[in-house]
Symmetry: D2
Subunit: 378 residues, 4 copies
């Protein structure tokens, strides 16, 4: 692909960052404090704006309810816009209330179930106020022991609950159903795999789609295959980008297997123009406990840009020809050659053209912003 077209596409390739990615996080053993970690949604937007200032590749900020709850949603929307950002996907929280210990949207207790539904409906209301089009639903429900729950019964209740949520969505809104292999439940998850999420989304209708989190699969799972099948069936709605070596490690994007990330983009390009707005929600979702949060986010944005650029280099016509000939070696070489190409100079040139420093991480670190927030936020 021509370098000018590459740069052009890159200029309009934007991703969403999560508000919660700028706050302290950790494991069940310890949450380590990062000096200056954001304490509320306004500080989170400040930090997201920093990521955008140095990369110009952030479109919006995903919010999490109730962590990011404010009294005045219009004010929040404007605050984001004044920082060059939109409010992106709205993420309900169904895991931090004692009531949800044995299930939320799947609870056998009607009251608890209704409470959970109401919370998600509250999120739909918030979407309307902040002009968000994406409801991103991760369901932590599941069981820890054989016998604890009835899978099919819970599945039916989940579908019922989701229908109520679905019906509240405007026509241009999308419900993203996220699946996860395990954690926090350790025997079964009510949406444990893409099959479940797909079946539910299919039952619900066109406004329901599936969102893939890179850390939510069994070891060995071919994620790019899932991307392809869901996309070809019109049911891929979004991504939670991060990395993992073991379980849902939530490491920064591209830190464990850049080739896999690249292959995912190769598939995405077949179905979407990722430089346009007509694309799945591309959201970073990470918990980089060991790294300064804004640096970690800049790293992840850059990894996505690099993977996207490399994926555009794949000569799809030649690839198709190799596939027709069953020439496995030449097909793989086409893919690998794209991946092996160093696209960082193209990235740097693009940055210069749009008036930002070609080295965002370095520039941000030198800016003194981290010291400032460490001081101000205590």
């Amino acid at each position: 692909m021509d370098r000018d077209i590459l740069k052009q596409k890159l200029k309009t390739f934007k991703v969403e960052v999560p508000s919660w990615g700028f706050s302290d996080s950790g494991t069940r053993f310890k949450v380590f404090h990062i000096p200056g970690a954001a304490r509320n949604i306004f500080e989170r937007i400040d930090d997201a704006a920093q990521v955008n200032k140095y990369t110009q590749a952030v479109s919006s900020v995903a919010i999490h309810i109730p962590w990011d709850k404010v009294d005045d949603w219009k004010e929040l929307k404007e605050y984001a816009e004044n920082h060059g950002l939109k409010i992106g996907s709205v993420n309900p929280n169904l895991f931090q209330d004692e009531d949800y210990k044995f299930g939320s949207l799947t609870s056998l207790n009607e009251e608890v179930r209704q409470k959970a539904i109401d919370h998600v409906l509250e999120c739909v209301d918030i979407m309307k106020k902040v002009d968000s089009k994406v409801l991103s639903l991760w369901l932590p429900d599941g069981t820890d022991y054989p016998g604890q729950g009835d899978f099919a019964k819970r599945h039916m209740l989940l579908l019922e609950s989701l229908k109520k949520v679905y019906d509240a969505l405007d026509e241009d809104m999308t419900l993203l159903i996220e699946y996860k292999f395990f954690e926090p439940a350790f025997y079964h998850m009510d949406t444990s795999d893409w099959g479940t999420a797909y079946a539910l989304a299919k039952d619900l209708g066109d406004k329901a789609k599936v969102i893939i989190d890179l850390g939510h699969h069994a070891q060995g799972t071919n994620i790019e295959y899932i991307v392809s099948i869901l996309s070809s069936r019109g049911k891929l709605g979004g991504f939670h980008f991060n990395s993992r070596k073991y379980a849902d490690d939530d490491l920064t994007v591209g830190s464990m297997n850049l080739y896999e990330l690249f292959l995912i983009f190769v598939e995405l390009n077949k179905f979407f123009d990722l430089s346009s707005n007509l694309k799945p929600a591309l959201v970073i979702d990470q918990s980089a406990a060991m790294k300064p949060k804004i640096q970690a986010m800049i790293q992840s944005v850059e990894s996505l840009q690099i993977s996207y650029l490399k994926s555009l280099l794949v000569d799809r016509e030649a690839l198709s020809e190799s596939q027709k000939r069953n020439d496995v070696v030449s097909a793989e070489e086409i893919i690998k050659n794209a991946f092996l190409t160093d696209v960082r100079s193209t990235l740097r040139k693009m940055r210069k053209e749009i008036g930002i420093n070609p080295s965002p991480l370095e520039t941000f670190i030198k800016s003194g912003y981290e010291k400032k927030i460490a001081r101000e936020r205590g």
Copy 2:
């Protein structure tokens, strides 16, 4: 459950054994020869009949085409019936022809694809001749390297191919779609998970269902959950029973985790009366390279009987009450108590009642059959 009802249910609980389970098998490193291993479908039926003679728990023999191909299908059907058995599911072979190296039902080459479709249609014809109602399709298709194939394109071709097969089925026939995580392909499988198989079965219609092989999942997968979701959606069509510790090890049934097998039966009981004919195809599919074949099959039949019996002991009403109270401990205890109960005396009593020796494995070994076939078959 009352012991008499237990015994009654056990008497009509029958499973299918695979013709290929009586022949030599092995790994890619070595096929070890078992003296007396069956060399053709008639010898395989002889051996299956031995398993049935000593257990009275075999309904039918799954056949594999072309391994079990004969000139006169009517003769084969009668041969089976004379041995107290039916011909069960018919299994096409799409992996042993050089033409299928790069795909069979998914091949980009129309000629190869048509050849594969024709082979499956041939199997449908055979079904009509031997009065089989189950077409059991395992698709080995997949790719070994990134770039080798186009997932979505292959998926579309697969659906097209399957439609042609589906249309050839009688109304009372079922197409079972088997999925597999990996092997023989090492980068992607065209039907890699239950989600794919379910989506295809849903597209095709009511005659298409999913078959679960216990060795075809990623490590950690909760198989009983899949049983439940597929069953509640009317799409569970059958089982390939075996065991594994690592990959598709194809060990004898129940040899690695009897608790998992029991939990699968607990789920099955919620949707089916396994002592009746209205149930999924319950087929043993193993490759017990280290064990004498008939002994291995008797072990597996017995493991299934034991797991089934134990599963019937679960007090489902009490369980439901515990679940409503969120009493995780008592719910689990109900399950575990059923599992911990020794049902072998019930099994032995049932055997006496139907006139067979209570110790089938021992009785078979003493019968001298193995020496006889070792001598006769060379």
Copy 3:
């Protein structure tokens, strides 16, 4: 084995319970509160004594420093003894201090490393005061990203640190080195597998051994094999018993694969008389967030008793004969028959003989203790 001998062995089969198993726990998403959860080491001993009251199978309580730190260790020791218990293994905490963010015993920072060593040495002091013979060391150290640390350098520092600890041990004390596949670190763990723990223990000397936690392995790992190899090399020092389906799920013992647990006991019996004192430390280590804590502990104790009893039923002489003949089927049948035997009546009889109720879980629940502590502890 004769039932009387079985019962005799069972009477002196004792396990250790962890103080931390009686307090609130959870995942990184949420710690759910259990009414009456113990708040300090004295309440934890009270609760452990309840487990012992109803099972008579608890020898001691593992303590965790600083969670269980007291001013007067003599008082604690006597408090335990007055409740019929000893203080068991002492467990240092190297994961909850901000200083240890980038390593404790492996830190490049000498000051931090010395602090960690000092903490472990403090634990050795405590051992002397409470008459504990087992220092049980789980090292959370590791890295999250490639480049973050130098594996070999950290390994060398770890060995150095451990030498200082080792030298402080009395001759009759044991240092148990625990390994873990991943978590809290997500790229590498400094003691990631039994190979590392064994190599370190070998370097250190006879007082150093390895402790196995059932949740700390890669999926598929044959744990009973590790038991056998470590035991035969004189390096198995103890167990952390729990269950898992996915990662380090810390579920109650025996809840996922009772057969595996049984097979572990079969191996242990070859090297140790578990009914005596000359055995590895057998410690329950679980985090049963969804279950009332004392009930969960009683379940786990009972699972261990059942597995131990079943393992004693294995006819080792016959097994050895089958192995010599390469009779895989009969060898497996010997193992499976032991496992399939219902030993609960033997367990119940033993309980009657020693004067406790044959149904400890039920009896405990009915005792009203849980309501009492919920009220008293708030």
Copy 4:
């Protein structure tokens, strides 16, 4: 690192190719025939020489006994030398003889065990004749079912057997012990992990080391960590390079996770100068059933060269500084920047300097050699 030094190092960076990598291979389901696949050791050396002709990066050919057995070893040695190659590691075969069904070096049957020992001793003899210094031992021994074997007993027999082999080695010879997680045995492997191999090598002495095969680990295993620990303990003896996504897939090198391969080289560089002769045995071991064999081998050689080159770019001094500061982000950036650099131009320049075409794969394909052997070998 200076480009000239890079090229210099690259010029003397040589790997070993396996004789068996030029012959037909497959899965347990099917061995697909590649036209022109080598039929004997002389044809295999011819093909290896082709790989070397176009890459100049092959030092030697690993041989497998008895597959590569010849009457006149001197003739074979000269044949290799005339083709610019040495005979590399000698690999005994302990898996294709009926006698070894239940074990070879671990067999309870003394006769079988002696036969296996004799076979390995025969390989030591061959080493002396072909001037090979590396005995590369992969042990397929293991069991399929609980009860089948006694782990500790087999371990002891294995050590005894290995001692006899060890004693027959000249002082400058190395015994490499290979471990494997599973396959062909499906319950336990007698050398299942690096811990076992290390313990055995330690018991044996300095001439015994461990060889790592990239496909022989549980999912998620951090292999570069094992490289580091074994190297720092003087026990890393060699590599079998290949790729896998699932199990021991034996795909071409670098086809699944190039970053992991690079990180392995980063570790190796800390302990060895891979451009010298004083290094572990670097052997390709693949079974590229879907690819023309020589093309596949050229791809793998190139992947190793690229990974090695990238690994040399790591600024180890700066990395060490970042590690000291606990600056996780800058440490990772140093690593990632090396990986993201396109080293292919350096590789091409080096090739021109030593007088070969910069595009070996393309040049080989155009050479017509494949057509020639397809014709000649039938």
